[in-house]
């Protein structure tokens, strides 16, 4: 991994849960974390696109992250959050079961992911962070938000 070379660096992660697993994205890519709100459906979109919301005048897509990663989604509850992330100029909201904390870890702590550690396809992973018996999966947002799947939608 490219990150391995930046030994002494620290990274900050926003940790959230999805089903039984814990995931994280880098804090630098997170624009905001908001409560669940009314989402306008977006017809003719892939099923992981939940719809669109008005983020202070900007219309952004909201995806059901669990569906995107082929995981089972938890029930919507008071803890459900939308994490608005930005990668490669695309701003997207991701629905997660709950957001737990912002974690500061050294870049060394990010290890290449053992493929068996999660049900999530390896393509979406940047690595795993082991912390006090926890296994936190670091997502590669660029891949997660990839437009590849969107390309096949034109009809």
């Amino acid at each position: 991994m490219a990150d391995d070379t930046r030994s002494a660096d620290e990274i900050q992660l926003v940790v959230f849960s999805l089903g039984r697993e814990e995931f994280a994205v880098e804090v630098t890519q997170v624009r905001e974390i908001m409560r669940m709100e009314e989402i306008t459906r977006m017809p003719k979109s892939p099923d992981f696109v939940e719809g669109i919301i008005n983020l202070r005048g900007q219309i952004i897509a909201v995806v059901e992250l669990a569906k995107r990663l082929n995981l089972e989604a938890g029930e919507r509850s008071g803890d459900t959050r939308i994490i608005v992330v930005e990668a490669e100029d695309i701003k997207v909201g991701m629905i997660v079961d709950s957001v737990s904390e912002v974690l500061r870890v050294s870049a060394d702590a990010v290890e290449p992911s053992p493929t068996l550690a999660t049900d999530v396809a390896a393509a979406y992973l940047r690595g795993v962070v082991k912390q006090d018996n926890r296994l936190i999966i670091l997502l590669d947002l660029t891949k997660v938000l990839s437009l590849q799947e969107m390309a096949g939608l034109e009809f």
Binding site: R41, G57, I59
Partner: protein, 711 residues
């Protein structure tokens, strides 16, 4: 006080492109009216400015080529070189090459383009001219002014020098100075000599406060400032300036600024040196004091407001008629603003409009006359603000029209056709975004008009028409629409052939054929794939891209209208909304979701009883005033849950492509002004939606893009 020139790159590119466009335009005019001195002056002026700008920025290739070109232009202006098609073509070639260079600069690719062929051709023209002109000068130019003659005598020497070696940057700068200053009588050489001479006489450094006034047409003010400071640094040192150097760099001044300058030179020498810089209109001495007494004074506001009466040198330094002629476009006070800024502003206004609507909704449930009055006031202000911002986005169609004469000319020439191209209504304004979008469609229609509309000169003569065909591009304002029409007086479209072919291709039944008119012919022509009908003469190629044009216009909320009379000509009119950002829309509800349908495509609305729905070849249809309309259930179409409409349901009749279609919805919510927010890259790929809008309640509603939704 160093300034970085790279930051002016964007400014330079904009200006250069404008000058090139002006050059292309003027050259087309010149070809029509070869003797017109005003047009020549205009061309020379643009080319000269372009060269000066390029030299300032250090773009040597550009400078070099425009310099060579200027020699030929100079010959044209003096009458030594005749305006012929070959020369016009050559100059057009130069403009294209210069355009390519500017594009390279914009991309930062740093390519070196091969200009040798052009340069040699240019040299061949003006060197040839010189030898001829030498013999006949006295006879050919008896009436010309003294001033011009003097220059002509000087010019050949300079030309020879440059013919032998490309001008270095300094030389080009010198050239520019000559170009703009020689008419004023302030000869650069003499000025420089004077500086040297007087420098010896002045002992010790003094501080002088100067007011430097730029020409009122000065376009690259910050670059001029840069040059002025560079020049000042050579002959002394700048102590301070008003406004500050940062503000000067940002062009935060009108036309004049002050510098406190320490120098050993005389005031006249300093003035002489500064006046060699193009577009410096005047230099005034405000105070002079010993260097030791320099006190940096506090800036006082309003100091720099330029006053007409304080300009004793103005008369001396004003450019002579030759360059400052009355044909020069009148420049108004304006500011360049990045289009994204305007987009942001428009978005903010959009939000304001949304909030206003929301407040009004809240107010309607309150019984406070004060609140209502204040809101009414706010509503009025918002409307005015919206109006103003919309106006700032409006640009004259001239901006895109100007490139067409050149295109039509070149195309007509290559096709062996004779065409008079007339443009009208160039000052009609459209939203910048719309204007950008219709450039290609118009180009397409014009190309079609030359290629397929106008017939060969011989064929025209045989039909009793003038040999020269005529193509007109007319912009017109009709209430809330702008119509842009491309018409030709060519052979017209044989609609019967179109219908025959359509029937052959199974696009229509023989019965339909009888009832069809021009509109239907256009619909057929604009059907993708129809245009491959190359075997039908007079029709072939007509449809190429017409579907693209039609789709583009419709996606902008406009319409494409065709009229054609066989043997007499064809016209295509683009009917466009004035602005894109805010449109009138019909809001409809389908299984709990609200959708907006742009009013432009809505023909009518109606309420239909369930039993009125019939089936024709397994497709649901309804009958509305003797017309059979296919019925599209929006909910089903969008994959939403459908409500079981009992009894009756509303339909929205929309006009698309070939036919009218009735769209069944659950509820009509009424007409409303909506602000379009575009969908980002992530969502744009999902077709069928033209954007989204935020309603007064804060809810988001998708805007249906009917043409793509149904195609």
């Amino acid at each position: 006080m160093d300034m970085d020139i790279s930051q002016y790159k964007e400014l330079f590119i904009n200006e250069a492109q404008e000058h090139l466009e002006a050059l292309n335009q003027s050259m087309v005019d010149l070809e029509k009216d070869p003797g017109n001195p005003d047009v020549l002056t205009e061309i020379f002026r643009s080319a000269h400015t372009l060269k000066g700008m390029s030299a300032t920025m250090g773009f040597d290739q550009l400078t070099e080529l425009s310099h060579e070109m200027e020699n030929v232009l100079d010959g044209l202006r003096s009458g030594d070189i005749e305006v012929t098609t070959d020369i016009v073509d050559l100059l057009f070639g130069c403009f294209d090459m210069l355009g390519a260079m500017v594009a390279d600069i914009a991309e930062g690719s740093g390519k070196i383009l091969d200009t040798r062929t052009l340069t040699e051709a240019l040299r061949a023209v003006y060197v040839g001219e010189k030898s001829v002109a030498a013999g006949s000068e006295a006879q050919t130019r008896p009436a010309r002014k003294e001033r011009v003659k003097k220059k002509s005598k000087k010019a050949p020497a300079a030309r020879e020098r440059h013919a032998a070696e490309p001008p270095s940057r300094e030389e080009a700068g010198e050239e520019e100075k000559r170009g703009s200053e020689e008419e004023t009588g302030a000869e650069g050489g003499e000025g420089a000599a004077a500086v040297d001479h007087e420098a010896e006489e002045v002992a010790g450094e003094r501080a002088i406060r100067l007011r430097i006034i730029l020409d009122k047409d000065c376009v690259l003010k910050s670059v001029r400032v840069f040059m002025i400071f560079k020049k000042l640094a050579q002959i002394g040192r700048v102590v301070s300036s008003r406004p500050s150097i940062e503000d000067l760099e940002d062009e935060k001044f009108d036309r004049a600024f002050e510098v406190l300058f320490a120098t050993a030179q005389t005031t006249e020498a300093v003035r002489g040196a500064l006046m060699t810089i193009a577009e410096v209109q005047g230099v005034e001495l405000l105070t002079a004091e010993a260097a030791a007494d320099i006190v940096v004074e506090e800036e006082t506001a309003g100091d720099l407001i330029y006053e007409e009466t304080e300009r004793p040198e103005a008369a001396e330094v004003r450019l002579a008629d030759d360059l400052g002629s009355s044909t020069a476009p009148v420049r108004t006070q304006s500011v360049r603003v990045n289009i994204s800024r305007l987009d942001n502003l428009m978005n903010l206004i959009g939000e304001l409009v949304i909030n206003r609507t929301r407040l009004q909704e809240i107010a309607s449930s309150q019984s406070s006359p004060e609140l209502k009055e204040a809101l009414a006031q706010t509503a009025r202000l918002t409307a005015d603000l919206q109006d103003e911002v919309m106006k700032t986005r409006m640009v004259p169609v001239e901006n895109i029209f100007n490139r067409f004469p050149r295109m039509v000319r070149d195309l007509a020439k290559s096709r062996g056709k004779e065409v008079d191209f007339v443009m009208e209504g160039k000052d009609i304004e459209l939203d910048r975004t719309i204007l950008d979008e219709i450039s290609d469609p118009l180009m397409h229609l014009l190309r079609n008009a030359v290629d397929h509309g106008i017939d060969d000169p011989d064929a025209r003569e045989a039909r009793g028409k003038p040999r020269r065909g005529s193509i007109r591009l007319v912009a017109r304002r009709d209430r809330n629409y702008v119509s842009v029409e491309v018409s030709d007086d060519g052979q017209g479209i044989d609609t019967r052939k179109v219908f025959d072919l359509a029937a052959e291709k199974g696009l229509m039944s023989p019965e339909e054929k009888k009832a069809f008119g021009d509109e239907d012919a256009l619909r057929l022509l604009a059907t993708p794939g129809f245009s491959t009908a190359e075997e039908v003469s007079g029709v072939s190629g007509r449809g190429v891209g017409l579907d693209v044009v039609k789709n583009k216009v419709e996606s902008l909320g406009g319409m494409l209208v065709m009229q054609s009379v066989s043997g007499e000509g064809t016209s295509f009119a683009l009917k466009l909304p004035l602005t894109l950002a805010i449109i009138q829309a019909l809001l409809v509800k389908v299984s709990g979701e609200i959708y907006a349908i742009p009013l432009g495509v809505v023909a009518e609305t109606a309420v239909i009883s369930t039993h009125e729905v019939k089936y024709v070849s397994n497709q649901e249809v309804i009958f509305l005033r003797d017309e059979t309309l296919p019925l599209m259930r929006l909910g089903r179409y969008l994959g939403l849950q459908e409500e079981n409409g009992q009894g009756s349901f509303p339909v929205v009749v929309v006009e698309v492509a070939m036919k009218n279609v009735a769209i069944a919805v659950d509820e009509l919510m009424g007409q409303q002004e909506i602000v379009i927010t575009s969908l980002d890259r992530y969502l744009k790929r999902i077709r069928g939606f033209g954007g989204a809008t935020i309603l007064g309640t804060g809810e988001v509603a998708l805007i249906l893009d009917i043409p793509t939704l149904l195609s």
